[in-house]
């Protein structure tokens, strides 16, 4: 049977990281038995954050839960749940349910040439997979494109600074005000793809995309035109996850529910769907 009841989590730490965005660390306040599903969480999966008296909303893991039940998530202040979270302090108890959904296809990433493209908050579901790959060194080639609107909108700044020393990263910003040309490229995620693919050398074996849906679909179309198999391109689709277990109906995508069949879909799967149905 499904369990729709949250577990208590404590807010351990948080810091501002981008416009209206904070990087939180949470600690699951539960016994080993309740912890076990969390320890199986995969990169690209998500959890429901529960603010008692306010509501629930989905977020992805930037760091997966460790044996002590600590995990991290990037949260942008956007609606009532995140408003309430931002008013909480370190030490406060709130709730979480999860992990849910289908994560990134990790088995397809080992010892491969991988291109990762994240836009805005879309870097959040990619952070743990980038860290995992860098830490394990189980890749042939790994390059990351990160796109943001402007300087204020840049997110996961400490993480990207660390990655910068270890793998090629293309930071792309539409509005370059305040940013230097050497470190950042002017433009958009899709706009820089020709340059990235040119420097990549051989074609990437697998591409991971996350961010605004229009950015993801435009990038996927470009990559297919470039010759990459739609089955090798993976997107993280956002919908209004509500129950997170494939029942409430809110996140429908044709006959699928994004919460349980996704949020990771291959472009080949999405091409079969009417993405607005």
């Amino acid at each position: 049977m499904l369990n729709l009841t949250p577990v208590p989590i404590k807010i351990v730490d948080c810091y501002d990281d981008g416009e209206n965005t904070r990087h939180y660390q949470f600690a699951i306040q539960e016994t080993e038995q309740h912890l076990s599903p969390w320890l199986k969480a995969e990169s690209g999966q998500f959890f429901m954050l529960c603010l008692p008296g306010v509501g629930e909303a989905p977020f992805t893991f930037t760091t997966l839960p460790n044996a002590q039940g600590n995990f991290r998530a990037l949260v942008r202040r956007m609606g009532s749940v995140t408003d309430a979270l931002f008013q909480c302090g370190v030490g406060d108890i709130i709730g979480a349910r999860g992990p849910f959904g289908r994560g990134w296809p990790m088995e397809r990433l080992l010892n491969q040439r991988i291109l990762i493209v994240g836009g805005g908050c879309g870097i959040a579901p990619l952070a743990s997979v980038i860290n995992q790959l860098i830490d394990s060194q189980q890749f042939i080639q790994l390059e990351v494109v990160y796109a943001a609107r402007n300087q204020a909108a840049l997110m996961l700044n400490p993480e990207r600074a660390r990655w910068q020393h270890l793998i090629p990263i293309f930071n792309v910003v539409e509005d370059m005000a305040g940013l230097s040309d050497g470190e950042f490229y002017p433009g958009t995620a899709t706009g820089i793809l020709p340059k990235v693919l040119h420097t990549f050398g051989e074609q990437p074996d697998t591409v991971l995309l996350a961010g605004p849906e229009a950015m993801q679909t435009a990038a996927a179309e470009y990559l297919v035109a470039y010759g990459i198999d739609p089955k090798s391109i993976f997107l993280s689709i956002e919908r209004r996850m509500h129950c997170a277990v494939g029942l409430c109906g809110h996140c429908y995508l044709n006959e699928k529910y994004v919460c349980s069949h996704g949020p990771t879909f291959s472009w080949a799967e999405l091409l079969q769907y009417d993405i607005a149905c």
Binding site: L2, T5, A57, V81, I93, R239, H242, G249, N254, C277
Partner: protein
């Protein structure tokens, strides 16, 4: 071969089942001839007859509650709140509504709230022997006879005020334990199928429904057509509320304060995919911002082949309630006629 019995009257069965169950049945809301019919608890010596009329609402709320608590937060911990209903009988459920329960059984297979109610419910179905207004169960394999895997017991009206009782499940057999019943004869069985066959032949043809389903699955309906229909959708949720297979829900917190502490109960309640805000995200990005998209989604969910592998059938059981309730005249008959004629 199912065990079949004869009943001279229903009282005997109702009385017997009432020894161990609450009994719910469809009754008129008042003595007015135009009154609506509703599911209601009955009993204690006053056993109503089964009525032919289709109740305004299907019995879906017995299992998928219109509103129910999921969990309570006391400030430190979250406690699941599961329903604990006493055993009950839905007495005289029509085949279309039974098929809808069967559909929901599949959908809510792993839902602990639904299943806590479902396992307490015994389903006594009743065959329809005359078509109901706007019903087309025979077109979507949901009636007029009760399908074998959708009920525990089935009643069938025979000549001369007698009833045939068909046992379909182990739970149905168990519920009859201790009741001495006369076996039905082969002639009675024959009469049941005669009656059902006659009923099936009495339905209007409704060819446009089949044509509509065909066009919908050939993706032959333009977005402009759906937008035209969308203009007529008032977003009232009448169709999704009355549709016996609709299952969308939302949740919200309700705070309750006592002198000692404040607790929060998270409740879930029926929602509707036809509401403008149904898919709207916190950022106000809305993949289904137009009424036409939402109307298209509703009918896609009811008649698309894409759902058949999961449920073994379409999401529509042919009850016609959407047509009866829609103030915008875009219930199933109106929509399918327009698809057949214009789309």
């Amino acid at each position: 071969m199912h065990k079949t019995y004869l009943l001279d009257s229903l009282d005997e069965l109702q009385r017997h089942l009432a020894q161990s169950h609450e009994i719910y049945q469809v009754v008129p809301q008042s003595d007015d001839a135009r009154a609506d019919y509703h599911w209601q608890q009955v009993g204690s010596g006053n056993w109503p007859d089964l009525v032919e009329q289709k109740p305004l609402q299907s019995p879906k709320s017995f299992f998928f509650a219109e509103q129910e608590p999921l969990y309570v937060f006391d400030g430190e911990t979250f406690e699941e709140v599961l329903p604990t209903p006493t055993p009950f009988v839905l007495f005289g459920v029509k085949s279309c509504d039974l098929m809808a329960i069967h559909y929901q059984d599949i959908f809510f297979e792993d839902d602990p709230y639904y299943q806590a109610r479902r396992k307490q419910g015994l389903l006594v179905g009743v065959d329809c022997v005359t078509p109901c207004e706007q019903g087309f169960c025979q077109l979507v394999n949901a009636g007029p006879s009760v399908r074998d895997d959708t009920a525990d017991l089935v009643l069938h009206p025979l000549d001369g005020q007698r009833w045939m009782l068909v046992v379909l499940s182990a739970a149905g057999k168990q519920a009859l334990h201790g009741l001495a019943l006369e076996d039905a004869s082969p002639e009675d069985l024959h009469q049941r199928w005669e009656n059902i066959s006659h009923c099936e032949q009495s339905f209007p043809r409704y060819q446009y429904i089949l044509e509509g389903i065909g066009k919908l699955n050939q993706h032959a309906i333009s977005d402009e057509f759906w937008q035209q229909l969308g203009i007529q959708c008032l977003g009232c949720s009448g169709c999704t509320t009355l549709c016996p297979t609709c299952s969308c829900f939302a949740t919200r917190p309700i705070e309750s304060a006592s002198s000692q502490q404040t607790s929060v109960t998270q409740v879930r309640f029926w929602d509707s995919c036809l509401y403008e805000s149904f898919q709207r995200e916190a950022s106000f990005h809305n993949p289904a911002s137009e009424a036409g998209q939402r109307v298209k989604r509703f009918w896609y969910h009811k008649f698309s082949d894409d759902f058949v592998p999961e449920f073994g059938r379409y999401g529509c059981v042919g009850c016609g309630r959407c047509e009866a309730t829609c103030p915008g005249v875009i219930g199933v008959h109106s929509v399918m006629k327009r698809i057949a004629d214009d789309a």
